[in-house]
Subunit: 135 residues, 3 copies
Amino acid sequence: MNVKKSHIQIRTTKRQEFYEITEEIRKIAKESGIQEGIITVFSPHTTAGLCINENADKDVLTDMIYGLDKAFPDDPKFKHMEGNAHAHLKSINLGSTLSLILSDGLIEMGIWQGIFFCEFDGPRDRTVKIHIMGE
Amino acid sequence: MNVKKSHIQIRTTKRQEFYEITEEIRKIAKESGIQEGIITVFSPHTTAGLCINENADKDVLTDMIYGLDKAFPDDPKFKHMEGNAHAHLKSINLGSTLSLILSDGLIEMGIWQGIFFCEFDGPRDRTVKIHIMGE
Amino acid sequence: MNVKKSHIQIRTTKRQEFYEITEEIRKIAKESGIQEGIITVFSPHTTAGLCINENADKDVLTDMIYGLDKAFPDDPKFKHMEGNAHAHLKSINLGSTLSLILSDGLIEMGIWQGIFFCEFDGPRDRTVKIHIMGE
């Protein structure tokens, strides 16, 4: 069994932003030399999330931020004093961890899919942890 | 370490549908011969998702589709020209990947739980990737 | 390859409650002796979920319950006779499974992050399954 650990440094530039990290993860997977295994992607932040979705039409990303704002709006009844409770809420709904399949040295993904770091309280410096286990 | 890779072919028949795949995954797990490990279930589609929930009362599935439509409704302000931005939104909230525990040759699951492929822009032909790693 | 399996018993005391299980998981990870691997956390319940979020300000947890109630409210049109369809809906949005990275014997987590069992239909006796695979 082999393990390869790495991370991606991100500097988000907007308050809310879907930042694609597909190519960085593909590069780490390729350099690991691991052919068959599981890739765990982890965000150590409480006001951001991870997701997999369309990376072809950039309008989809704009719609995701708009739709999440409608489902999980800021609210005067939130008690958290930092004023970013909506960002925590989006974070728990999208999640902080993704498991990907590494098969024949390639990440199993659909042709329209990309992997995104989802900033909900930026701009900030962020890190995404990558862990590959297999052989 | 052993790896078993497989997939499930699905033909959804409705615009929105929770399609149960528990038995197919159990069969793949059994045939793998792996006793202890991790099962990664992955949907390569951007307008569908995966979830684990009750499979006893079919009304729950109807309620899930109704409740998701309320939380993530279609909206005239969505810019994505295909008109299915709501389906992408549901996809990122439910997620495209599940990790299951394989223990003593059986999938760890609650008595009321089933595994569902969640179609949000059907009917379509869909695929779910299954990856089992362990020994 | 080594596998360590364990579980956490929880008795929730409220209708809805975010119950922190970070320290229990850290203890299981430490006792496993596994240094490098993947921790799978699994909830076998259909009216509860799992998430990772802030554990410093307890107001965040109150806000999460309030925000989830707003996004996924109870509704007279729900057909499920047990009256807890909203709890199933929150369960599928947060998810029932988490994958964590175990690195140098420690769980990779951000300084503000905690791991929570999210009760949406309590009070009840609950169990969380923990599976660690690595070496």
